[in-house]
Symmetry: C2
Subunit: 729 residues, 2 copies
C-alpha cells in the first residue's frame, strides 16, 4: 500500500486499546470493599450511567437531524457524499470513548478507596490505571477512526490528479471532527451543568445551611455531586480532548496536503502522514510513561506527585527525541524546522500549565492574597478573585503568541510570507502538544476518580487513616486538574488556529466542486486548485477594513460571552432546583439529619440530569447555528471574522474563568488548612462563597469555551459549501 509509515498509526491505535483493556481487567480484579462501599459506588455508577444514557439519547436525536441535513447537502452537491458517514463515526467513536472511560471510572472509585485501605501507593495505582484506561481509549479510538477513514477514502475516492485527491481525502476527513465536536459540546456543556448544579446545590444547603461536611451521606445531593465528577470531569473532559486530538491531527493533515501540494504526491503524502505519525509515536510513549508511574509502598504525598510527574516528564522528553527521529525517518523536507515547531507546541503547553499552577495553587502569592482578602468578607474575595483571574491571562496569551509565531517561523523557514508552511507548523505544534495525550489525560481522569474515592470513604464511614490517604490522592488530583485545564485550553487555541486555516482549504475544495476553477484577482487570474491562502484572503477581502470581517469579530466576541452567560445562568437555575429538593427532603424525610433515614439520592440525580439536558440545548443550538447564519449573511469574510473573534476572546475568557475558579477553590482550601482563622472563621465563610462562585467558572463555563472555539470552526468547515454557494452579501 501507499506507504509503510502509515501502518504505524493503526498499530499504535490497537496497542493503546489493548493496554486499555489490560488495565481495565487489572482494576476489575481488585475488590470493591465492604457492602456499604459497594452500595455507594453502585448508586454513583447507576446515576452516571443513567445520565449518560439520557445524554446519548438527546445527542442521538441531534445527530440524526444533522445527518439528514448533511445527506441533503450531499445530494445537492453542497458537500461531498462521505460527510454524513464521517460525521457519524466521529460522534460514535467519541461517545464510545466517553462510555468506556466513565464506566471504568465508576468501577474504579470504590476499588481505589479499598486499595487505599492497604497503602497510598495501592490507591494511586488503581486510580491512575483507571485514568489511563480513559486516556488510552481516547487516543486509541481517535487513531483507529483516522486510520480506517484514511484507508477507505484512499480506496474509494476516484480522482486522477493524485495531489488533488489527497486534498479531497484530508478535507473530507476533517468533517469527521464535526461529529467529535458535536459530541464534545453536549458532553462538556451538559456534564458541566450537571456537576455544578449538584455541587453548588449540595454545598448551599448542606455546608452552609445545615452545617454538615462535604460528602456527608445525610446530604441527598451528595451522590449527584459524585456522579457529576464522573459525567463532567471524566466523560466531559475526555470528549473535549478527543476532539482537540482528532481535530488537530486532521486539520494539520489538511494543511499538509495544501502546503506540500506543489512538491509532488510522494512528499505531499509525507506531509499528511507526519501529524498522524507524531500522534502514533506519542501514544506508544504514553504507554511507557504510564508504566513509569509507581512509587514505594509508604510514599508521601510529595512522592506521589513526583511519581505522576515522572510519567509525564518521561513521555515528554521521549516525544522530543522520537518525533525528530520520526520526521527524519519519514524524510519530510525541513525536518528540523518542523521538529522545532513541535517542540514549540510542547513548551507552550508546559508553560501554560505552569502558569495555571502559579495562579491557582495555594503555594503562591495570587491565591494567598485572595485568601487574605477573605478577611474583609465575600465582596473583596470576589473582587480580588475576578481581578486576579483577569491578570492571569497575560502569561498564557503571551506564551501562545510566542509559541505560535515560533511554530510558524520554524516551519516556514523564517519567511513570514511562506504562509501555508507556517500554518502547517502551527498545526503540528498543536499535534505535538497533544501527542502524549494518552498519559496527560490519564492524570486528568485520575482526579475525579480520587475525588470519588474520597467521597466513598466519607460516606462509608471508613477510618481516619483511609480518609487521610484518599484526601492525599484527591489533593494531588486538584493540582493535575489545574494543569490539565490549562493544557485543554492551550490545545483548543492552537487547534482553533489550525482549523481556521483549514477552513480555507475546505472553501477551496467547495469552489472546485461547484466548478469555480479560477479566481479573478488584481494581479491576474489564478487556478482555484493552486491558489494560495493569500489569494483567498484577497479574493474574499478577508482584511480588517472589511466591515463583514469586523462585524463578524464583534459577534464572535459576543458569542463567547453569551455562551458563558448561558451556562452560568443554567447552573444557577439548576442549582436552585437542587436546593429546593434538598430542603424538601430535609423537611419531609423524618430523621434524615440524624442519619436514621436514607435520603432519596435518585431524585437529586434526576434533577441534575433533567436540568443539564434541558439547559444545554440553547447554548448548543447557538454554537451550531451562529456560523451557519453568519456564512449565509456575510460569507467567507464574515465567518472568518466570527471564528477569529470567538477564538481570541474565548481563549482569554476561558483562562480567566478557569483560573479565577481554581484560585477561589484553593484559597478556600488554604484557609481550611488552618491559616487566617481556619475552618468556620469569617474568612472561611467568605472563601466558601468565592469557591461556590468559582464552581461554574472553572467547571462549566470556562471549559465549555474550549468546545465553542473548536465547534464553530468545525461547523464552518462542514458548511463551507453552503457559504460558497449561497452567501447573501
Amino acid at each position: 500500500m501507499f506507504n509503510y509509515f502509515f501502518w504505524v498509526i493503526p498499530f499504535a491505535s490497537i496497542l493503546a486499546l489493548i493496554f486499555a483493556y489490560v488495565f481495565f481487567k487489572q482494576i476489575m480484579r481488585e475488590s470493591e470493599g465492604n457492602e456499604r462501599m459497594v452500595k455507594i459506588a453502585g448508586h454513583v455508577r447507576k446515576g452516571a450511567m443513567a445520565y449518560l444514557k439520557q445524554q446519548y439519547k438527546v445527542v442521538g436525536l441531534v445527530f440524526i437531524g444533522l445527518t439528514i441535513l448533511f445527506t441533503i447537502m450531499a445530494i445537492f452537491k453542497v458537500q461531498n457524499g462521505w460527510v454524513p458517514f464521517a460525521f457519524l463515526t466521529g460522534g460514535f467513536f467519541s461517545g464510545l470513548a466517553g462510555f468506556f472511560g466513565m464506566k471504568t471510572a465508576t468501577y474504579a472509585s470504590a476499588r481505589t478507596t479499598n486499595a487505599a485501605r492497604k497503602s497510598l501507593n495501592n490507591g494511586l495505582r488503581v486510580a491512575f490505571r483507571s485514568g489511563a484506561v480513559m486516556g488510552l481509549v481516547v487516543v486509541g479510538l481517535a487513531l483507529l477512526d483516522i486510520s480506517i477513514w484514511f484507508l477507505v477514502l484512499h480506496f474509494f475516492i476516484k480522482e486522477a490528479d493524485i495531489t488533488h485527491k489527497m486534498v479531497i481525502i484530508t478535507t473530507t476527513m476533517l468533517t469527521f471532527g464535526m461529529g467529535a465536536s458535536t459530541q464534545a459540546l453536549f458532553a462538556r456543556v451538559g456534564g458541566g451543568i450537571f456537576t455544578k448544579a449538584a455541587d453548588v446545590g449540595a454545598d448551599l444547603v448542606g455546608k452552609v445551611e445545615a452545617g454538615i461536611p462535604e460528602d456527608d451521606p445525610r446530604n441527598p445531593a451528595t451522590i449527584a455531586d459524585n456522579v457529576g465528577d464522573n459525567v463532567g470531569d471524566v466523560a466531559g473532559m475526555g470528549a473535549d480532548l478527543y476532539e482537540s486530538y482528532a481535530g488537530s491531527i486532521l486539520a494539520t493533515a489538511a494543511l499538509g496536503a495544501a502546503a506540500f501540494l506543489s512538491q509532488g504526491a510522494a512528499i505531499q503524502l509525507k506531509g499528511v502522514l507526519a501529524p498522524m505519525l507524531i500522534a502514533a509515536t506519542g501514544t506508544i510513549l504514553s504507554i511507557i510513561g504510564i508504566f513509569a508511574v509507581r512509587t514505594k509502598e509508604d510514599a508521601t504525598q510529595k512522592e506521589l506527585l513526583r511519581a505522576l510527574g515522572r510519567g509525564i516528564n518521561l513521555s515528554s522528553i521521549l516525544i522530543v527525541i522520537f518525533s525528530l527521529g520520526a520526521l527524519l525517518w519519514l524524510g519530510l523536507p525541513n525536518p528540523w524546522g518542523i521538529w522545532l515547531s513541535i517542540v514549540s507546541g510542547l513548551v507552550t503547553g508546559i508553560i501554560i500549565g505552569k502558569s495555571t499552577e502559579y495562579y491557582t495553587s495555594e503555594a503562591y502569592k495570587p491565591t494567598r492574597s485572595i485568601a487574605e482578602s477573605a478577611k474583609t468578607g465575600p465582596a473583596t474575595v470576589i473582587i480580588s478573585g475576578l481581578g486576579t483571574g483577569m491578570l492571569s491571562t497575560a502569561i498564557p496569551v503571551l506564551t501562545i503568541v510566542l509559541g505560535t509565531i515560533l511554530a510558524f517561523m520554524f516551519a516556514a523557514g523564517w519567511d513570514l510570507q511562506n504562509i501555508s508552511m507556517g500554518l502547517y507548523g502551527i498545526g503540528i505544534a498543536a499535534v505535538g502538544m497533544l501527542s502524549t495525550l494518552g498519559i496527560t489525560l490519564a492524570t486528568d481522569a485520575y482526579g475525579p476518580i480520587a475525588d470519588n474515592a474520597g467521597g466513598n470513604a466519607e460516606m462509608s464511614g471508613l477510618g481516619e487513616e483511609v480518609r487521610r490517604r484518599t484526601d492525599a490522592l484527591d489533593s494531588l488530583g486538584n493540582t493535575t486538574a489545574a494543569t490539565g485545564k490549562g493544557f485543554a485550553i492551550g490545545s483548543a487555541a492552537l487547534t482553533g488556529l489550525a482549523l481556521l486555516a483549514s477552513y480555507i482549504e475546505e472553501i477551496k475544495v467547495g469552489l472546485i466542486r461547484i466548478g469555480h476553477t479560477t479566481l479573478q484577482l488584481a494581479g491576474g487570474s489564478v487556478p482555484t486548485s493552486h491558489a494560495t491562502l493569500n489569494n483567498f484572503m484577497e479574493y474574499y477581502h478577508v482584511n480588517l477594513m472589511n466591515p463583514k470581517v469586523l462585524m463578524g469579530m464583534f459577534i464572535g466576541s459576543m458569542m463567547a460571552f453569551m455562551f458563558c452567560g448561558l451556562t452560568m445562568t443554567a447552573v444557577g437555575r439548576a442549582a436552585s432546583k437542587m436546593v429546593d429538593e434538598v430542603r424538601r427532603q430535609f423537611r419531609e424525610i423524618k430523621g434524615i439529619l440524624e442519619g436514621k433515614a436514607d435520603p432519596d439520592y435518585a431524585s437529586c440525580v434526576e434533577i441534575s440530569t433533567r436540568g443539564a439536558q434541558h439547559e444545554m440545548m440553547l447554548p448548543s443550538f447557538l454554537a451550531i447555528i451562529a456560523p451557519i447564519v453568519m456564512g449565509l449573511l456575510f460569507g467567507v469574510a464574515g465567518v472568518m471574522g466570527l471564528l477569529v473573534g470567538a477564538l481570541s476572546t474565548g481563549f482569554v475568557l476561558a483562562i480567566f474563568m478557569a483560573n479565577s475558579g481554581g484560585a477561589w477553590d484553593n484559597a478556600k482550601k488554604y484557609i481550611e488548612s488552618g491559616v487566617l482563622g481556619g475552618k468556620g472563621s469569617t474568612a472561611h465563610k467568605a472563601a466558601v462563597i468565592g469557591d461556590t462562585v468559582g464552581d461554574p467558572f472553572k467547571d462549566t463555563a470556562g471549559p465549555s469555551l474550549n468546545i465553542l472555539i473548536k465547534l464553530m470552526s468545525m461547523v464552518s468547515i462542514v458548511m463551507a459549501g453552503l457559504t460558497v454557494l449561497y452567501s447573501l452579501l
Copy 2:
C-alpha cells in the same frame, strides 16, 4: 475665507460656552443653605479640588514627557511638527472642561439640597442646569479647539496640492485627540479608582461592620465617597465623552478628506466640514433641549423622568431633521445616504441605552431575577449577576453590528466595496450619536450632583421630606446614568472603528513624508497618495491568515482583560487601605460612633487620592506602551490586529461589566424597596455583597475600557510614523 459653512462651528462653540456661563451664574445666585450644609459642601469641594490638583500634577508630568517625545519625533521627521502643540491643546482643553464641570458640580450639590427644601422641581432645575454646564463646556471647548486648529493649520501648512493639504490638516488634527485621550485615561482610571475605593471602603466598615446607614456623617469615608462621585462620575465621565466627541469628529474629518479626495478640493472640504457642522448643529439643539427640561412645582418622580426625557427626545428629533437640512445646505454628494448613516448612529445609541435600562432597571425581569437569587445567598447573587451581565451583551453587540453595517452601506451607496465612503459613514454615525452630547452629558452629570445633594441632606440632618425629594432626584440619576453608560460605550465602539480606519490615513501620510511615494502591489504599482484602503490592506497583509494580525488580536483581547484586572485589583487594594483607616478612626477617636466627635474626613480623602494616583500608573502605562511595542515588533498588521482585538473584546467586556454592576446595584435597591424581606433580611445582605462587587465593575473597570479602546488607537495614530519606519517583522 474657504467656506462660510465653517463659521457655524466657532459660533456654536461660543454659544455653548456663553450658555454654560449663564447657567453657572444662575446656580451661584442660589443659596447654599444652612451652616452645616455649607460646611459639608465645603469639605467635598475642597477634597475634590485637592484631588484634581494632584491628578493634574501627575498628568502634567506625563504630558511633559510625551511632548518631549513627540518633539524629538518631529525633529527626526517621524511625525510632523504640529503634533506636540496639537497634543498639548487637546489635553489642556479636556482638563479645563473637567475643571469647570467639576467645580460647578461641587458648588451645585448643597444648592440642589437647599432648592429641594422648597420643591422637587426647584431641586431638579438646579441639579440639571449645573449638569448642563458640564455638557456645554465639554462640547464648547472641543469645538473651539477644533475650529482654532483648523484655521491655524489652514493658514500655516504650505502644500501646493490642495487635496493633499487637506489630508495633512485632518490627519494632523487627529493627533490632538491623543491629548484628550491621555487626559481621559487618567481622569477615568484615577477617578474610577478613587470613587470606588472610597465607596467600597465606606460600605464595608460603615454599613456592614458598624451597621450605620449610607452617607452617615459618623463614617469618616463618607466625604471621600461624595468626593468620588465628583471626580469619577463628573470629571471622569466628562473627559471620556470629550474624547469620544472630539475623536469621532476628527476621525470622520480625516476619513472625509480621504473619501472625497478624488472629487476635487471643494467637495473634499465639504466632506471634512460635514462632521463638524453636524456637531455644531447638535450643540445648538442641545441648548434648546436643555430649556425644555422643566416640570411643574409639585411634580412626581415619574413627571421628573418625563421632563428629562422630553429634553433629550426634543434634541434627538430636531437633530434628525436639522442634520438633513445641514447636509442639503452643505451640498455634499449623497446627502440622503449620509443622513441615513447619521440616523443609524442615533438609533444605535438609543437602542443600546434602552437595552442597558432593560438589563439594569429593577422594573424588568433580569434585575428582579438577580434579586430573587439573593434568597439563596451571596454566591447565587454573584453567579446570576455575572451570567445576566454576559447575556446582556447580545443586544448591544447585534445593534452595533447592524447599525454599523447600515451606516456603512447607506454612505457607500449600498456598495460593499466602496470602503472609504462606507467608513466615512461609520464615522459620521458616531458623530450623529454624539451630536447632542451637550444635553446627554448634562443628564449624566446631573446624577452625581443629585447623589451628592442626597448625601448633603443626610449629613446635615435635614428633614424626612427633603431627604425623600433628594432620593427621588438621585434615583432618577441612576436611570440616566445607566443610559449614559450604554451611550458612552456605544460611542466608544463607533469612534474606535472610525479611528481604526483613520489609522491607515495616518500611515499613508507617514509613508509620503518619508518619501515612499508608490506601493508595489500584485496588480501593479499605485501612488501612495491615491492608494485605497484595500491597497494598504494588501500591501501590509492585514488579513486573517497573517500570524501578525492574529497574534495582535490575541494580545488586544488580553489587554482588555488585563486592564480590567489591574483596575479591579487596584480598587481592592485601595479599598482595603480605606477599611483599615476607618477601623482605626472608629477605634481611636473616642465618641465618633455616638456622634460626639468629628471623624477625620481629610485623611480618607487623602488615602483615596494617593491610592488612585499610585494605582493608575501601571494600567495607563500599559495602554500607552502596548501599541508602540506592537508597532515596532509586528508593524502595521500587528497594530491593526491589536486594535481590533482590544476593540471587539473591550466593547463586549465593557458592556458585561457595566450591566452586571448596574443590575446588582438596582437588585439591592429593589430589595430595599421592601420585597423579598426588605432591608436587613438575608436576601438584602446578599444583595449588598453583589452591589459591592458591582461597584468597581460599573464605575472603574467597565468605563476605563472605553478609554482603552480609543487611547490605543490614538497612540497608534500618533506613532504611525515610527511604525512605518522602524517595524521589525
